[in-house]
């Protein structure tokens, strides 16, 4: 049985992730440190109505997602700049296989990180009220989000000239959760920031997840979350495709 090219590329990316423990550690450590910091250091200072760890966990999940993206952008860019892409191209490996490999490995890596972050949240006293179907909904929203930002990140990686600038290009995605309802509710923010936080894509995603975990789903936020994700995925995919054709 011969594997499909996508599966071959996926396995290659997994090997890269495992062999580059710093990346994985980074992706894992940073969100957990942030979580500890916000819950234990700042948590009491924020009045969010309820336990802070319950409020913060969905936000930390979003931060963990975006934090890991720079590794993907760097990896995609390295493939382009280190010449191996020419080898793949002459071998007629489809661009689909190369890019899909990166998307799937990013999704899988992120799922591992999220499981760890949620695990740590439980250790810190996180007590969600979600029912089993609501948990499934949480997983669904998160998977869609990761899928969407992965495509966008791949486009960023393809668009960047060097691996360093590719990593840097994901900084806005890392900053976005800070200007969302991840840490404090948007309505508590100052004018300007507050409107931005209310209308940027990560807020409805976080609010949707927060709603499900609280056992009080918010349909409006969930629909907005799905719409944003589909939109980001489409833009990311088309952009990545165009860049890939131009570049490789």
């Amino acid at each position: 049985m011969s594997m499909s090219d996508s599966a071959i590329m996926l396995r290659r990316n997994f090997k890269h992730t495992v062999r580059n423990p710093v990346t994985l550690f980074n992706a894992l450590l940073m969100p957990i440190v942030m979580m500890l910091m916000f819950v234990y250091v700042f948590g009491d200072a924020f009045s969010v109505g309820g336990t802070y760890v319950d409020y913060a966990t969905p936000g930390m999940i979003m931060m963990a997602i975006s934090y890991g993206l720079s590794a993907t952008a760097t990896a995609v860019n390295s493939d382009m700049t280190k010449g191996i892409i020419n080898r793949f191209k002459v071998m007629d490996v489809s661009r689909g296989a190369v890019l899909t490999g990166h998307v799937v490995s990013t999704v899988v890596r992120t799922v591992v990180v999220l499981a760890a972050v949620i695990g740590v949240a439980f250790l810190m006293g996180f007590s969600p009220n979600a029912t089993f179907p609501q948990w499934l909904a949480v997983i669904g929203v998160l998977l869609l989000t990761v899928f969407a930002v992965s495509w966008l990140t791949i486009a960023l990686g393809l668009a960047a000239k060097t691996a360093e600038s590719a990593g840097f290009a994901t900084v806005p995605l890392i900053m976005l959760p800070f200007f969302s309802s991840a840490i404090v509710p948007a309505e508590k923010m100052g004018p300007g920031i507050r409107e931005f936080a209310e209308y940027q894509p990560f807020t409805p995603i976080i609010e949707s997840v927060r709603g499900f975990l609280n056992g009080t789903p918010s349909n409006g936020h969930t629909i907005a979350a799905i719409a944003w994700s589909v939109g980001i995925a489409a833009v990311g995919y088309l952009w990545a495709r165009a860049k890939f054709s131009k570049r490789a």
Partner: protein, 370 residues
């Protein structure tokens, strides 16, 4: 670093020596690969009937980036089973030429056929019959040597256990068995190039493009690479090679084309090209005019420059002729201040063919100061 026919002959002898040693008990590769090629994997695929006498033909290839013309109407014809060298300095357009012929880049004009297939309309067929080893080794640094080869085997969709044999055979052939399980990032430049080429061979290409295969390699690795190239040709492959080194083209190529600013300024065998460039000479510098005059009298065919006190004596750079010059000077007790051997190199070729020097001017002289 300059290359001199004198040294060149020695290098050739060394190469032959390497070859003999290599066939020995170690069991590696130069001749071993030739005799053992039937078993696994690196023989060019048969393409019954379609094979013409030309592996690569190009006519009027043009490519420009913005307003900078990189290829300015290139014609080449590479016969099947031969080595063709595209010789030129950095920026001459060598890599662009390789990229166009390997379908990685679209030309602005002109046509080319590789393995009998049009590079534009039959891209897939071209890709299926070629292998490319780029200027910068395109190995996956986070995979081991074996995994890199396995990746190629997987992507070529070998059936059953055949792939395993191909990997092991290539590791043996390229002397990479010991480091097979180390990450490619730990490999030396020479090993990386070997792995790179081995990866290219997994697909059993009939035509191999080698873009500056030895740039940046130490002399020993360079000779190893040359032996590998010779062996590939012995296996019936066609090699399209680019290089900055006249010596490399001289050693390997059946046909050499000199590329300068996107144009081929000369084409022919190594012998034909060498006839167009000035021969080597020995340069002697003296402390005083009397010595210069004396030397000019006893060394036939020499030309003296009274102002700089320099005498040029035609020479092939070989040890014998150098000794003859020195003996003669000794005989007449003439004192030489400085003794320099100057042999034609890429820069001389360029100067002779284009009237300007190559940008990558390599040092032409080896100075032996008293």
């Amino acid at each position: 670093m300059g290359f001199y026919p004198g040294v060149l002959i020695a290098a050739d002898a060394q190469a032959r020596l390497d070859r003999m040693v290599a066939v020995g008990p170690v069991g590696w590769a130069v001749s071993g690969g030739v005799s053992g090629r039937g078993q696994v994997g690196v023989r060019p695929a048969d393409d019954s009937g379609r094979m013409t006498n030309s592996a690569i033909t190009a006519s009027g290839l043009r490519k420009a980036y913005h307003d900078k013309v990189v290829l300015d109407g290139i014609d080449v014809n590479v016969r099947t089973g031969t080595v063709f060298a595209l010789l030129g300095p950095n920026g001459a357009g060598k890599t662009t030429m390789v990229n166009v012929l390997t379908t990685l880049l679209k030309a602005d004009g002109g046509t080319a056929r590789v393995a009998g297939h049009d590079i534009v309309t039959e891209t897939k067929k071209v890709r299926a019959s070629i292998g490319v080893t780029g200027q910068f080794a395109s190995v996956d640094e986070l995979l081991s040597g074996r995994e890199n080869l396995q990746l190629m085997v997987d992507l070529h969709h070998f059936k059953g256990g055949e792939g395993k044999g191909v990997v092991e055979n290539l590791l043996r052939r390229f002397d990479l068995v010991e480091s097979a399980d180390k990450l490619a990032s730990t490999y030396s430049g020479g090993m990386r190039r070997k792995l790179d080429l081995a990866m290219t061979l997994v697909g059993r290409p009939r035509i191999i493009f080698l873009d500056e295969p030895t740039t940046g390699l130490d002399p020993r690795s360079r000779r190893t690479m040359w032996n590998i190239v010779r062996e590939l040709v012995a296996d019936g492959m066609t090699i399209f090679l680019t290089t900055q080194y006249l010596e490399e083209a001289d050693q390997l190529a059946d046909q050499i084309a000199v590329l300068d600013q996107g144009k081929i300024v000369a084409q022919g065998t190594s012998e034909q090209l060498k006839r167009q460039i000035p021969g080597g000479h020995v340069q002697l510098r003296f402390a005083e005019a009397a010595q210069l005059d004396a030397a000019a009298r006893v060394l036939t065919g020499s030309t003296a420059d009274a102002e700089s006190l320099i005498l040029r004596v035609p020479s092939d750079g070989g040890a014998k002729s150098l000794r003859a010059v020195l003996d003669r000077l000794d005989e007449y007790a003439i004192d030489v201040e400085e003794f320099t051997v100057h042999m034609p190199d890429l820069d001389d070729v360029f100067l002779a063919l284009t009237g300007h020097s190559s940008t990558e001017a390599e040092s032409k002289t080896e100075v032996v100061t008293k």
